[in-house]
Symmetry: C2
Subunit: 215 residues, 2 copies
């Protein structure tokens, strides 16, 4: 993690660590700003210098939770991996992070899932960002001749549905890690590339096709 | 629905309708056998003539909830539909039943989902039965040359994961019916048949291959 740039950033980071401790202890985000201030040895009014509201605090905590996954998506999309490896890495590397988070602290993981269900507005932006990055990969794949006859939006939606158990953290709990493996994810990614659209009849004459990236 | 065969069956069916009303009113299965007896105008001891325990009552209610889906699976597996239509009907027809149940009474649907999460032993048998029927279809597809290089168990697991949003009733709520459509399910089923295993190189020389159905 990058070193905080200012004292304000450093205190915010410390407060977010205390927030995580509170979630760990209580199994929920059910605490007041005053309670957070108390846990931080800070006056209740002082805490608003760092987070102007409970909503701002929640947003910062969600950002911290998603940071590793966003970094992975940015890195994979910018990489020059072949399309099959790129699509697999896009899902497999984030799945590996989720599994590590779950295995390190299963109860904390479940608490974050419950908080995410109660405050879906915090998750929404991350889901949309994932769709944006996936649409960039899909456009690249289309240029290589995959997903013929499908639109980018349609392809993104179909892929999301087909890899759902590897994106939805709930699936780690209700399907379980015996059944969810990277080897299976790789077979699903292959089936997506080979079987979705008319792409099973790949040919070389795809140059000049119109590619439109959904922003 | 078949006409009850005996008075005992008729009363059991009436009691299960009252159970559904109680779930509808309370949003949970959080009622005692005495309360059920009271709602049915029956003495608390009399009710045990029809259901020997709360567990037996739960099992009968789950069986009633799953009956339509089990009938569909039996009918589809026994049909002589071509393999692509068979696999699609296996999922699409049950998905249509779930959607109809959800749209008829969304709150009751959510209550049943919560009861299923709290009493997963009631759902387990139905999931296993679905896997059994799917393995019969997979074996038939393998005889036609699909899913080369994969075992039946592995294929069943991969298919379940790829169509997860159309099997898991929770997905109707968290993904939503705008995104989940039979047209998309059909594209996913095509990708499964075309893209899973080495089956994208279908050939006619599959006679004599060993087919083992997992029971």
């Amino acid at each position: 993690m990058a070193r905080p740039l200012t004292d304000i950033d450093a205190v915010r980071e410390q407060l977010l660590e205390i927030v995580e401790d509170l979630v760990r202890q209580r199994g929920s985000a059910d605490f007041s700003m005053a309670e957070l201030a108390n846990a931080a040895g800070m006056s209740p009014s002082n805490i608003y210098r760092f987070f102007e509201s409970k909503e701002a605090l929640y947003e910062a905590a969600a950002e911290r939770w998603f940071a590793a996954k966003i970094a992975i998506m940015e890195e994979v999309v910018a990489s020059d991996l072949p399309i099959r490896e790129k699509l697999l890495a896009f899902f497999a590397r984030r799945f590996a992070v989720m599994v590590a988070q779950y295995q390190a602290e299963p109860d904390l993981f479940k608490s974050y899932l419950e908080i995410g269900q109660q405050h879906f507005e915090l998750v929404r932006g991350h889901v949309d960002l994932g769709d944006h990055f996936l649409s960039v990969i899909v456009a690249e794949a289309m240029q290589a001749g995959y997903f013929r006859g499908l639109s980018i939006d349609e392809t993104v939606s179909l892929i999301n549905q087909m890899v759902q158990p590897y994106c939805n953290p709930d699936a780690i709990i209700y399907i379980g890690l015996v059944k969810l493996t990277e080897a299976k994810l790789a077979k699903i990614v292959d089936a997506i590339l080979i079987g979705l659209g008319d792409s099973n009849h790949l040919s070389a004459d795809t140059q000049g096709s119109q590619i439109r990236v959904v922003q």
